[in-house]
């Protein structure tokens, strides 16, 4: 029998909601998180809107803070996930695996240029997780936009090992850095009006921010129904180009994931597309989906939630996964609100547009691909 691991708790924050539940409701209602930017000097940039979280965060001591935002989002999402799983906040040696694209590089920028305080230990999340959750076995992975699914794959490896832990907390977090936003502003001479995944007129991505966390166990707790199951996570690396994706290697990681999970494309009911709204990324993902799913590409419903949250980078894989769990529970699929004129390569894909759709979802595929050609795909299964 194929191995599977129960997800017993979820938590998330993003521009469209401060809890996993709120985010799901916003997505189904087609609400965007795009708003005038707060964090950066408006006069310096052509672009003026981002998918930011419009609130201060709390630090490890629980005090409101405008600094160390990626850490604040992370602590919030992990606390939600622990509460949802019925766990207390004393983690001890329970592994906490955190995927991030930009760790606390925003704090580095503020420290270097604006004089904010920072120590070397503040670059990653270990000390804050120790202070807040007494967690001593924490891991920060800087794996670009597939980071949280990469972390999920490492968690399943630990749980598959007989000598491994009973429980692992997996999370992803990012706040927007000025360097990454600035370079996008430089490259996008006309700022995209929104993230438009798979649209003929997509003009590039816009950054978002937030965090997501799940509690993953070796086996369900007695008497408690899980939120869903992780069936398998595949990872690889293109090893071809630093920023451009490779459809062939993306197809390969999808096949590898299907093999691990013991599923065929025709059995998959929902695909949470990575869909960043950049010309090359969406093309590569669409080609890989077409190649791997073949005629069955018309079978699953699909959606690309970055049309409402922006690109949440390291957290994006788990944001999609938690949204998929919401769809499994409710039968509601959030729309890709900015998809008006689909590109040829997705002509036969059933991407939900305009408003939410209904579908029964038992198996979902989550895609996440990042800079450096690091690809990760997960298969999750409904609770019942």
């Amino acid at each position: 029998m194929t191995e599977r691991w129960p997800i017993t708790g979820v938590g998330a924050v993003a521009s469209v909601g401060r809890t996993a539940e709120e985010i799901f409701e916003s997505l189904c209602a087609g609400r965007t998180g795009l708003a005038p930017m707060r964090e950066f000097t408006k006069d310096w940039y052509t672009a003026g809107e981002l998918y930011e979280i419009q609130a201060d965060t709390k630090d490890a001591a629980g005090q409101p803070s405008t600094a160390q935002r990626a850490t604040g989002f992370l602590l919030d999402a992990v606390a939600q996930a622990l509460a949802d799983a019925g766990m207390d906040e004393d983690l001890g040696d329970i592994p906490v695996l955190v995927g991030t694209g930009l760790r606390e590089l925003r704090s580095v920028e503020r420290w270097w240029r604006d004089g904010d305080p920072l120590t070397a230990a503040g670059l990653h999340f270990g000390a804050a997780l120790r202070e807040r959750f007494n967690a001593s076995n924490t891991h920060t992975f800087s794996n670009a936009c597939s980071a949280s699914l990469y972390a999920l794959s490492l968690a399943t490896d630990l749980l598959a090992d007989e000598a491994g832990p009973e429980v692992v907390v997996v999370a992803g977090t990012d706040s927007i850095t000025e360097s990454m936003f600035g370079i996008a502003d430089r490259v996008q001479s006309v700022p995209p009006g929104a993230v438009r995944p798979f649209d003929r007129n997509r003009m590039g991505t816009i950054l978002g921010e937030g965090a997501a966390a799940v509690v993953l166990r070796r086996a369900p707790r007695d008497g408690a129904a899980p939120r869903g199951w992780v069936r398998g996570v595949g990872v690889n690396c293109d090893a071809i180009h630093a920023t451009a994706p490779d459809a062939g290697m993306i197809a390969q990681v999808m096949r590898e994931t299907h093999r691990r999970a013991g599923v065929a494309p025709a059995e998959i009911d929902l695909v949470m597309l990575h869909g960043t709204g950049t010309p090359a990324n969406d093309l590569g993902e669409a080609q890989a989906m077409g190649e791997v799913f073949g005629e069955d590409v018309t079978s699953p419903v699909m959606t690309a939630m970055k049309s409402m949250t922006g690109h949440t980078s390291g957290g994006s894989g788990l944001h999609s996964l938690i949204t998929a769990l919401g769809s499994m529970r409710t039968g509601r699929i959030a729309p890709t609100i900015t998809l008006d004129d689909p590109m040829d390569e997705v002509e036969t894909f059933r991407i939900v547009r305009d408003k939410e759709a209904s579908a029964k979802v038992s198996l979902a595929q989550i895609n996440a691909f990042g800079f450096g050609g690091i690809n990760a795909v997960a298969i999750v299964e409904a609770a019942s």
Binding site: N143, C237, D238
Partner: protein, 322 residues
């Protein structure tokens, strides 16, 4: 409180890009108080290094030498070829300060111009902290799992721990582990000191049976990797099987470690040689341990890294061929 990983792996190749050090045997000795910085172009040719940040260049050099030493790579410069299937080789890089220079340069440029106009798009990949791991994979065509650990003081040994996990899970047959930190004004300001490593070390790890099958030299064996909440808990966990280490590598700030711990084991400290080594330390420790065994030492050795307000990682090492 301890989390332990028990399956072992052997080190079959070591690569170094370190100022003043030619061989793993020399890692603990202060050969030259003011060595010349590593010149990556002199080591692997200047082609392919343009626009790469310092950490990436150092990482490429160490990775090259480790892959060659392990017998996985042929050739030199840009004309190298991998001798095994690309999907079988995974990469894990530990670095904390790797791309800080690229990040602050962009925000400085923007503030000076009050515009993003003069920022060069060529630096885009350098703004993501996984740049070293992705460039190493691209240059040597390594298509297995690719991970960047930015985990503070434990990072180098954590990278080794994840390599063991991949080998155990069957996600890779060979894992290239790289620890790298660059020296520049941003790093010096952040750590509050001017003795900062500007270098990299790399290891190739694989299962003992795989190394034996292809007759690769087992330089050292990583028996066990643990994560704990303190240095004392770490040394206790690593010696729980009754091992009596001949020596142990101290974490950064090792001078402050309790003198009562592991009586009889030599204390090995890389800080006097290299200064602050941060995410590279754990990889340097294992490279050095492999070097000790080349000189005929036989006793087990512990490597310990970490900070007690975060977490502590350790690895138990013994000679590769008993």
């Amino acid at each position: 409180m301890t989390t332990s990983v028990t399956s072992s792996a052997v080190i079959t190749g070591v690569g170094l890009a370190l100022p003043g050090v030619d061989s793993a045997k020399d890692l603990l000795s202060t050969v030259d108080p003011a060595p010349e910085p590593v010149d990556p172009a002199a080591r692997i040719g200047k082609k392919g290094l343009r626009y790469k940040d310092r950490a990436t260049q150092l990482g490429l050099v160490a990775a090259h030498d480790a892959l060659i030493a392990a017998g996985l790579l042929d050739g030199h410069g840009l004309k190298t070829s991998l001798k095994v299937a690309p999907e079988e080789v995974a990469v894990v890089v530990s670095s904390n300060f790797g791309n800080l220079d690229s990040v602050v340069e962009v925000v400085d440029t923007i503030a000076k111009e009050c515009s993003s106009r003069l920022v060069s798009p060529i630096v885009t990949p350098n703004l993501s902290s996984n740049i070293v791991a992705s460039e190493v994979a691209i240059r040597y065509t390594l298509r297995g799992p690719n991970l960047t650990v930015c985990n503070g003081a434990t990072g180098g040994l954590d990278a080794v721990g994840w390599a063991l996990s991949w080998l155990r899970a069957g996600r890779a047959r060979y894992v290239l582990v790289v620890g790298v930190e660059p020296d520049n004004p941003v790093v010096r300001k952040l750590v509050g000191g001017d003795r900062v490593l500007d270098g990299a070390a790399a290891l190739v790890l694989e299962r003992p049976a795989d190394a034996a099958e292809r007759e690769a030299p087992a330089l050292a064996e990583c028996v066990r990797a643990v994560r704990t909440s303190s240095v004392a808990a770490c040394t206790a966990a690593l010696t729980a099987g009754g091992e009596r280490p001949a020596a142990w590598y101290l974490p950064e700030g090792g001078a402050e470690v309790d003198q009562e711990l592991l009586p009889g084991a030599d204390r090995l400290d890389l800080a006097p040689v290299f200064g602050t080594t941060s995410g590279a330390l754990g990889v340097l420790q294992l490279a050095s341990a492999a070097g000790r065994y080349q000189t005929g030492e036989r006793g087990p050795v512990l490597a310990v890294c970490g900070a007690e307000d975060d977490g502590v990682a350790g690895v138990l090492i013994r000679p590769g061929q008993d």
